[in-house]
Symmetry: C2
Subunit: 223 residues, 2 copies
């Protein structure tokens, strides 16, 4: 008879987590953090279902994907799940990030606990405004955009976060394509694709959810 | 024989746009804006497919949902589609918004073209910091959070945008629950549910896409 450890190892050996599940993992990550903060060590799929507003069967299916087997009557081991999700999402990788654009959005992000929570270290910011260069936001010093390539190399930056103006996005992306960075978190609103250069890009369109909200409101008004 | 107009009207009479399609509409909105800006009046599903990195059959399926029938060899009427999507998403409703929290994030949003593009008018901001009260960001004056309820009423605000600190979120939500607003665009990171009070909420977790990016990078590194 196999014990629990065997089952998990076996599952890891041929685990293939689907993109749809990956998209949902950051939500599990957030809720599990919350549960850990509450001092709980076990959680049932029913409890998670209620917290997350997802069906319990969806939760069981998702967590089974990477060996998160709940025990009937005992629920899930919260720390195991959290560690596992962090591992899959690369939270423990110690990624180093730099923010291009030290305006309000860049500053808001760097000051927020967002990066620390996810194990990402913001090591530098870049801007073109002489009045900002040399200043610090949280622990990140602001460098001139002219020094972009050399500083990215010096600080061994993995992720570049784009919060600069739309009009400079393409030009900056062309410069980044020639560097050794691994990914771009792109908040400029201009879609980028640098897969040819081996750089992963996540194009964020924060305004999309504002439109979904407007849709819901318009729908409620019609009722 | 039915002409095109008949088909569209018939379709509108019993159209039911699924939530999954609704979630995708803001993307169509963005791309169609781009196409209009390029001066094009017709676009084929193949062209849209290439621009949006979605299969042409998915596009045809999505657009058929609300009477966006392309003509073989002619493609879609760009302006018709754009107008239709705006209508569904409530872009023409003239929603009025107020931002609670005049920090870096709130300021970045109000200064961005995000609201204007979507036909949402930001009429006021609120903060607790005496140094900010009375100042203006773009066209929005910053009021004391003490005046929240009366000002929301005075300006007939439909949407409240939350960019304030996590710790004040619940208390603020309780106050908002008693007002006449229709929706909350919640960027605080604390999930809210005010459906009992007839208020639609869109909880935004911008950091989720940062984690998806970290996952992709960790995956590429393993290759």
């Amino acid at each position: 008879m196999k014990d629990e450890k065997d089952i998990i190892i076996e599952n890891e050996m041929h685990h293939e987590v689907s993109p749809a599940v990956i998209k949902r993992l950051p939500r599990y990550f957030r809720y599990l953090r919350e549960i850990i903060r509450m001092g709980k060590t076990r959680v049932s799929s029913a409890e998670l279902s209620k917290m997350m507003n997802v069906t319990a069967s969806q939760i069981r299916q998702d967590l089974n994907c990477f060996g998160g087997f709940g025990q009937q009557g005992y629920g899930y081991n919260v720390n195991y799940l959290y560690t596992k999700i962090c591992e899959i999402l690369g939270v423990g990788c110690g990624f180093r990030a730099a923010v291009i654009g030290a305006g309000n959005l860049g500053t808001a992000l760097v000051k927020s606990p967002m990066f620390e929570k996810r194990g990402v270290d913001v090591v530098a910011m870049f801007d073109v405004a002489p009045s900002l260069i040399g200043k610090k936001v949280a622990n990140a010093k602001i460098y001139s955009a002219d020094e972009l390539e050399e500083r990215l190399e010096e600080f061994a930056v993995d992720i570049v976060i784009l919060t600069l103006d739309k009009e400079y996005t393409l030009e900056t992306a062309q410069r980044l394509a020639k560097t050794n960075i691994s990914g771009i978190w792109n908040l400029t609103g201009i879609d980028l694709d640098l897969s040819e250069h081996g750089i992963a890009v996540e194009n964020v369109h924060i305004g999309d959810s504002l439109m979904t909200l407007c849709y819901e409101i318009a729908l409620n008004d019609k009722k």
